[in-house]
Symmetry: C2
Subunit: 352 residues, 2 copies
């Protein structure tokens, strides 16, 4: 980070975000819930999905693009599934509800799948995939991204988003395995970050409309993201979109609203969360012991020249969670200015 950053405690960040949402018209309990989830995103280093989004959310709420007092409700239900109508509320509230319901249903059914419609951006996928962990369950999460930056393989029309996949699997004494990935080589936020820092993108992130590598992030609007593994990532983005969007009656393809440029249209965002009760498959401790062994075998692998350490998915965010809880969450100077500007606008105390 070239900019200076101020360290803010998780508690302080929560209080600030919560005050903002209360001022924007959310009920106190809802404001507190969204605040906690957003601060959790920053805590684990998912800073592109944390408090950085607050000014954008505020703009949408003020413009009428998000319903501050939604009636979030179950509209379809069976013993192993539910479909939740988010009533255009904050996505965090919808997915918190969805995860809780999936966990509850998985206790009986062994597995449960809960989809959402009329939801909104909910922050990092891993937040929700992780929720079943403390119940000795595996979590999976799929979502339709909130802007289309990916064409079908061989095409030019941006009909697909970076549709993320997350999975969280508990271990014994090791950190849980937590994967959280876009189905494109780079998430669009990484492109924006390169532009902000004045750096070139590596080849393979984007191509232009002639199919040439695009490495200048300032020209990002002239090209599009590349899927991981070529046609495979295209297929994966499509399948995730069908599961999280189309199946739920949520936006997918041409219906996806670009929430970076449109602050008023209802996004009808679709997500899905799956909870798998490990005890339905056998002994939970035996399972966790097997995960521990696997994790250690992977970590102990001989390494390529120049590689210092083998990382497991989720290990780096776990380390950040611990460090940020101890030292505070770094808020870059530019973001701090934006947040304090928002606070002044709303008449609440500045973050710093």
């Amino acid at each position: 980070m070239a900019e200076t950053a101020t360290r803010v405690s998780h508690e302080r960040l929560c209080a600030f975000i919560s005050a903002t949402f209360e001022r924007l018209g959310l009920p106190a309990a809802d404001a507190g819930m969204v605040a906690k989830l957003m601060a959790d995103a920053d805590l684990q280093g998912s800073d592109g999905h944390g408090v950085m989004r607050l000014p954008q959310y505020a703009k949408r709420i003020k413009a009428g693009g998000i319903n501050p007092r939604p009636d979030i409700r179950v509209v379809q239900e069976r013993v192993g599934m539910a479909l939740i109508h988010g009533d255009n509320g904050m996505g965090h509230l919808v997915m918190q509800r969805a995860a809780g319901l999936a966990i509850e249903k998985a206790r009986t059914a062994g597995i449960a799948w809960v989809g959402s419609q009329w939801s909104n951006h909910a922050g990092p996928a891993s937040l929700y995939a992780r929720m079943p962990l403390e119940h000795d369950m595996i979590g999976l999460y799929f979502a339709v991204g909130n802007a289309n930056h990916l064409p079908p393989w061989g095409g030019l029309d941006m009909l697909l988003s970076t549709n993320p996949i997350a999975a969280a699997i508990p271990a014994g004494s090791e950190a849980p395995v937590v994967l959280d990935m876009a189905t494109t080589v780079a998430a669009y936020g990484k492109v924006k970050a390169k532009a902000q820092r004045g750096e070139a993108m590596p080849e393979g992130w984007m191509i232009d409309r002639a199919g040439r590598a695009l490495t200048d992030p300032v020209r990002a609007e002239e090209g599009f993201l590349l899927p991981i593994g070529g046609y495979k990532g295209y297929g994966l983005a499509l399948v995730v979109g069908l599961l999280a969007g189309t199946l739920n009656g949520a936006a997918m393809g041409k219906n996806v609203v670009d929430f970076n440029h449109d602050h008023t249209s209802v996004t009808n965002t679709g997500q899905a969360i799956v909870a798998i009760d490990i005890s339905a498959f056998g002994d939970v401790q035996a399972f966790k012991a097997r995960v521990d062994i696997l994790v250690r075998d992977l970590r102990a692998s001989e390494r390529l020249p120049g590689v210092e350490r083998i990382w497991l998915p989720g290990e780096q965010s776990q380390a950040k969670r611990i460090a940020h809880a101890r030292d505070g969450i770094p808020i870059a100077a530019g973001l701090m200015r934006n947040l304090n500007l928002l606070a002044a606008e709303l008449g609440i105390a500045a973050l710093d």
Copy 2:
């Protein structure tokens, strides 16, 4: 194809494979079931997973590495899940049973997840993901591959396989969307095919132990496959292995038996199939109509220079299924020789 190929009808191929398995000691109904699934693989162009595998399966059965008369049974069960013990039978039988059970359970629960342990290689992932389609359900399939060719990201020890993911989503008048992909850039079978044809591999498929691109397929044993999207594909292969292997008490990591080189050790292969009942989420016809629109939007996308057509996942195998049903399944001369040799050994009629 440089070699000449003979066309064989699906019916004739089924009869030949079935006769082979009966001679190898499988009950007639089981032999017929495996034969149909293997011939279906060839019919849809998944020829690396079809009758080509018959000599290898025969070798394993004769060597005692596969149980010809397994007692395939449910060992764990809840309303939305089951775990099936394959008793080291042919994987096709185990997964056929698993898919049937998942479909049955999804009718009540809305979704069902059925895992397998003590199973074996079952052919192409898409065969099983497709089974829920005719019941107006979505199918997902995950498996632990039967040989480790992938190290953790940054590592050298091959602890992971090409762990495939498949998904099948029904459409209305369009072909279903069917994705079937390894989590590596290239499946190992493609490397073998390049070696057979004396062609170089493109950069990006494999690297050697110094991290350099490996393009000579004859030297494949000196290197390893690359995951799609770098660390993302590593994470995906790991998560698929945890879900299909570790969760089921099946082999994963160091326990995976390389069935290309070891014909006697029990593989304890793990797989998982998920069936999602579309009617639980809403109107089935409305869902299919949404998929049709999406498929057509993607296909109608403006194209990159030189691209003749946008393909949807599953469209090419659907076209092959129709063509091969009409014209017969092409069996290359070398494979035909191997199959006829096997037939002579077993004292059954030659395929041609």
